[in-house]
């Protein structure tokens, strides 16, 4: 492919080619994704929509290295995830991916600060450095004053913001959000989406979000639709 003079050749951060995924239920093979080709540029904010069972979450799992394709190539940052061992994938996720889940997935026995600190336990940072990173991440999401609170003491919106702080505390390239507003009221959802825009526009994070919510999808640069495992 040729490039115009003065224009830098830019390879996508995420590149999927001929990706299919099927699950086996006993003797039956259930196809979930079929022959998906996809490029997502670094710094993009893209949303995936589609009905239940369309393969959105499976696609997200493949992009984030939580699952492997049945066939095809999944490259993120130039690395072929399918060729990595489980341990290599763990290390890769720890360094490159932050997760935001629909149900927040915070450990209820830990404080907000401790939850945010969890991914940092896998880094060589000292305790003092970890504490600084945690404080900074919680400040970004506006919860610097709730560090000592445990999840049950926080509202749903606050819990999701703690989860976002946890996702960004290691400064990953890629943020994966699976129905991040699915369990929130409108006001809390807007706060979370505002945060995503800050992360996207000001911190230049690449955001890939799966959602059922059209309002949430509107915040993305690009909305893609999946239907019965096919990317429309």
């Amino acid at each position: 492919m040729s490039t115009a003079p003065g224009q830098e050749a830019k390879s996508p951060l995420i590149r999927l080619r001929g990706v299919s995924k099927a699950y086996r239920r006993g003797d039956i093979v259930v196809p979930v994704l079929e022959n998906v080709d996809l490029d997502i540029e670094a710094g993009a904010f893209e949303a995936f929509m589609g009905p239940s069972g369309s393969g959105k979450s499976t696609l997200l799992n493949l992009i984030s290295g939580l699952d492997r394709p049945t066939t095809g190539v999944v490259e993120v940052g130039g690395q072929d995830l399918a060729r990595m061992s489980d341990k290599e994938l763990s290390d890769w996720r720890a360094g490159h991916v932050g997760f935001v889940f629909q149900l927040y997935n915070l450990l209820p026995v830990l404080t907000a600060a401790e939850n945010v600190e969890l991914p940092l336990l896998l880094t060589p940072l000292s305790r003092a450095e970890r504490r600084e990173h945690v404080a900074a991440a919680l400040e970004v999401v506006g919860l610097g004053h709730r560090m000592g609170h445990r999840p049950p003491q926080l509202s749903g919106g606050e819990q999701q913001r703690v989860a976002i702080a946890r996702a960004i505390v290691t400064d990953p390239d890629l943020l994966i959000a699976d129905e991040p507003t699915g369990d929130l009221d409108r006001k809390s959802a807007e706060q979370v989406l505002d945060l995503f825009e800050v992360l996207h526009h000001e911190l230049h994070k690449t955001l890939v979000m799966v959602t059922h919510d059209p309002h949430a999808a509107e915040r993305a640069d690009l909305v893609r639709h999946l239907e019965k495992g096919l990317l429309q």
Binding site: S57, T58, N61, S64, L66, D67, D86, K87, S90, D91, W92, R93, A94, G95, F99, F101, L103, N105, L107, P108, V109, L110, E114, E117, L118, P119, L121, L122, R127, R130, R166
Partner: protein, 386 residues
């Protein structure tokens, strides 16, 4: 936060369940230590047997007696340094089973020489040897009944019928060895003079002290060969072997106790395993979240195993704390019936074994839950709702 704090916080997720599990484990450890101590009690006398003493008894049975006339002949066997004899008297004091204690007739001078681990005041030794019906009693026995030198003690004979009265002439202690301090010894002549002719001059066994313990086998063979063709052939063995022979008669009971101790370990395994399995199942999503963040499977396994280890250590520690009072109470009640036992009978090794067993069993209990925690694919685990 540290990995250890994460383990600790996860442990405290359900405090009531943790406390109940630790208590169940502790009770199991306590029972295990108690039963191991009971087994130790049986073997304690064998372990403290003297290496230079042999035990010569009738080959036919441990309950059959031997002629006293064997004594001078055994003395002539090369390697024999000294010899004494004794016989079970089986006297009973009072009507209760609890009032039973060891009683035996001996030859005081040679008995004191061969059993040189006895500690008796010289004045009392002299009094014991001078009185034809004097009695030497152990300090535990004296303490139990409040007996002191000069008291008269009447026993009801079981092997030798009738009432037999002895004068307490001394109280003994032991430095080491197979003797307990809960027995009564009296001179053979006190009994022998009153026996019918057909029962006179017969003893239960001879205790032979050898010059060189490494030649015990040769001395034993020589003694037994000497009486091989007599009406009363002998069987000579080390004191330890002889004691183990006594114990072997109780092997079924000991085996049963050991089986129960093992079953208790199995129960601890199941209790802790069940707790961990529930805990891990409830946390499937949390553990999968950790794995999604980049925690490797090994680290998640360690997380579960450390929790398991912590439960085992707490159970073991608590069990070790509550076991000694139980064992002391048991020894106080049954010690006299088992030939007299020191009240503080409990080995450090048994306590350590109790803790190690708890730790080992708890780690074992954690393996399957830990394996299940990482077996589930991360993406699937993230969808699990507790």
């Amino acid at each position: 936060m540290t990995f250890g704090r994460l383990v600790w916080k996860d442990l405290l997720r359900n405090p009531l369940r943790l406390v109940l599990t630790v208590l169940a484990g502790a009770v199991g450890v306590m029972a295990f230590i108690f039963l191991r101590t009971v087994v130790d009690l049986f073997y304690s006398s064998a372990e403290s047997a003297q290496a230079d003493r042999l035990f010569t008894r009738a080959k036919a049975s441990i309950t059959a007696d031997l002629p006293l006339s064997y004594l001078p002949r055994i003395s002539t066997v090369p390697g024999v340094d000294d010899i004494t004899f004794y016989g079970f008297f089986g006297g009973r004091y009072g009507d209760s089973q609890r009032d039973f204690f060891g009683s035996a007739f001996v030859d005081p001078p040679s008995f004191m020489r061969v059993f040189d681990e006895l500690v008796v005041a010289p004045r009392e030794v002299a009094a014991f040897q001078a009185d034809p019906c004097g009695a030497l009693i152990g300090k535990e026995l004296a303490k139990r009944y409040g007996w002191k030198s000069g008291d008269r003690v009447t026993l009801q004979g079981t092997i030798y019928p009738g009432e037999w009265t002895f004068n307490v002439r001394g109280i003994y202690d032991v430095r080491t060895g197979s003797l307990d301090t809960n027995s009564l010894f009296f001179p053979y002549r006190c009994l022998n003079e009153k026996l019918p002719d057909e029962r006179k001059d017969r003893v239960g066994a001879f205790m032979v002290r050898v010059e060189d313990p490494s030649r015990s086998a040769a001395v034993s063979s020589a003694v037994d060969a000497m009486f091989a063709n007599s009406p009363y052939p002998t069987r000579t063995e080390s004191e330890r072997a002889a004691t183990l022979g006594f114990i072997s008669m109780l092997s079924a009971i000991i085996t049963a106790v050991q089986v129960v101790a093992t079953v208790i370990l199995l129960i601890i395994l199941l209790v802790i395993g069940n707790t961990l399995a529930m805990s891990v199942r409830e946390r499937t999503r949390d553990l999968s979240t950790l794995r999604a963040m980049g925690f490797k499977s090994g680290r998640v396994v360690m997380l579960v195993l450390f929790e398991s280890l912590a439960i085992g250590l707490c159970s073991g520690g608590l069990g070790v704390l509550i076991a000694p009072p139980l064992v002391r109470g048991f020894v106080a009640v049954v010690g006299s019936q088992m030939g007299g036992l020191p009240a503080d009978f409990m080995r450090e090794g048994t306590l350590v074994l109790g803790v190690l067993a708890a730790v080992g069993v708890s780690l074992l209990a954690g393996i399957i839950p830990a394996w299940r925690a990482v077996r589930i694919p991360v993406a699937e685990g993230l969808r699990k709702v507790a």
